[in-house]
């Protein structure tokens, strides 16, 4: 049991549907996210990648289907049943770290406080314990010297690294990244991807929505291509990037290559 609480988790989606009014954002999506591996979600804007990611920690409530973390259902108290109790949902969310495109740090807190807040309020650690763990997390993302800076005094790349520190300090068993580098100046992308590579090497379960095909090609264990709310193709980076079997995937990659005029 103790082992299970710290071991990387898997996630499983079965026939997940999500509607925004009449618009169906996810159409019967099924996907298994293996523990300790990096799964990258790619696809055009509006294809449902972020929605899928946000269904895993129920920031978006899916309308039907099942989402499980390991074997535990999240979102509903039973398949097709009522939405789960808020308290139970909070407990499950502790196991799931999330990093957002817009960083979403709390502006009135220093970098250190952004990390300690969850440790104190959710994990129930003492201030001293929380600070010591937060400092470890900040050191890990290379920001030990920025702990007393407020977000308004950090660069985009630093903000995202603090956000990653805030998530990993909680010791999640699975990490969700929602376009973590899309809001960054190109020269700052590398520092964030570097931290993510390091996490991947440590065996964290990671689900990454990304437009960084280079990252997907080099770090992902599995690449999932989505379009119009459906999973169109999945495979190893080699299968997806070098020999795209689906014409829509091939055309998406062709468009990407033309825009970036580089090879990967």
């Amino acid at each position: 049991m103790t082992n299970q609480q710290t071991a990387p988790a898997s996630a499983h989606l079965r026939n997940v549907c999500k509607f925004y009014g009449p618009f169906q954002a996810l159409k019967d999506v099924s996907l298994d996210i293996p523990p300790g591996k990096v799964t990258c979600l790619i696809g055009p804007s509006g294809s449902g990648k972020s929605t899928l990611l946000r269904c895993i920690n129920v920031l978006e409530m899916y309308d039907s289907g099942e989402v499980r973390i390991d074997d535990q259902l999240i979102g509903y108290d039973s398949p097709g049943g009522k939405p789960m109790a808020p308290r139970r949902l909070r407990e499950m969310r502790r196991e799931i770290g999330m990093v957002f495109q817009q960083f979403n740090l709390w502006p009135h807190m220093t970098a250190l406080q952004n990390v300690t807040e969850g440790l104190e309020r959710v994990r129930g650690l003492s201030r001293a314990e929380a600070q010591s763990r937060a400092r470890e997390a900040l050191a890990k993302v290379g920001l030990a010297d920025k702990e007393s800076n407020h977000p308004s005094h950090l660069s985009g790349g630093q903000l995202q690294r603090v956000a990653i520190a805030r998530a990993i300090a909680m010791e999640p068993r699975i990490m969700l990244f929602d376009e973590p580098t899309s809001a960054l100046d190109p020269e700052l992308v590398g520092e964030v991807l570097g931290v993510m590579k390091q996490l991947a090497a440590e065996g964290m379960t990671m689900v990454v929505v990304t437009h960084e095909m280079g990252f997907a090609a080099h770090v992902a264990d599995r690449v999932v291509f989505m379009e119009r709310g459906e999973i169109v193709a999945t495979g190893s980076p080699r299968e997806v990037f070098d020999a795209p079997s689906d014409p829509r995937l091939a055309s998406f990659l062709q468009g990407y290559r033309e825009r970036n005029s580089l090879d990967f």
């Binding site: 920031l59 502790r94 799931i96 770290g97 979403n104 502006p107 959710v122 308004s152």
Partner: protein, 219 residues
């Protein structure tokens, strides 16, 4: 004139005390009630939306003097028998709550959703999200409006004289009717309010600095 001041000074000081007391309690309780109403509107059942809106619109849509009369003279009809001072403080509380709740609503609406989602994703409960994230973030934009309304409330306290609360307006009127002097008492009253409000403004600016310190460039 010195003689008049000497004679009415103690009464004016007492009136000043009552004004201060009704303003302070009316503001603090009004803000607290406004906060509770806004939290109920935001996190409570959807059915609460309409009654809350009706309450806010009724209070904002009627003069404070009318509300006070309804409360003080109409209250006994439904068994609410209050002395002048408690009735005045309750009136200010209700009046203030409707405005405060609207200021807080706009403030909470301006908190970026992503900052709330980040807290949810970590597993914060709603009370923690409100007290630790939403309130401090909101204060940056809402504090000037809150202080502004607290200042408006100082001036509404003079209306309590109409239901015989012995606050400073009431004392000034007594002084005027007994001495037939008008200019001096009214000037004293004006100076008193000016000083009072200047103090609140300064305090408000200090609070603003406290809530926005992280936005100010220290380099």
């Amino acid at each position: 004139m010195m003689e008049t001041l000497h004679r009415y000074g103690p009464d004016l000081l007492t009136g000043f005390g009552f004004t201060l007391l009704s303003w302070a309690l009316g503001t603090v309780l009004g803000l607290a009630l406004g906060f509770v109403i806004e939290i109920a509107r935001r996190f409570g059942p959807r059915a609460l939306g309409y009654p809350i809106r009706a309450y806010v619109e009724f209070i904002r849509g009627t003069p404070f003097l009318v509300q006070l009369f309804v409360l003080y003279y109409g209250g006994p009809l439904i068994g609410l028998r209050l002395d002048a001072l408690p009735a005045g403080i309750l009136g200010l509380t209700i009046y203030g709550s409707a405005y405060f709740t609207e200021i807080l609503r706009a403030g909470f609406d301006a908190v970026p959703l992503g900052q709330i989602e980040a807290a949810r994703a970590i597993g914060f409960r709603n009370t923690t999200i409100v007290m630790r994230i939403m309130v401090p973030v909101m204060m940056v934009s809402a504090l000037p409006a809150l202080v502004n309304f607290a200042i408006i409330l100082t001036k509404e306290t003079v209306i309590l004289s109409m239901i015989t609360v012995p606050e400073i307006m009431f004392q000034t009127q007594t002084m005027m009717s007994e001495t037939f002097a008008f200019v001096t008492p009214i000037l004293i009253l004006a100076l008193f309010f000016w000083g009072f409000i200047e103090t609140i403004s300064r305090f408000g600016r200090r609070l603003e600095r406290r809530f926005t310190h992280y936005l100010i460039d220290r380099t």
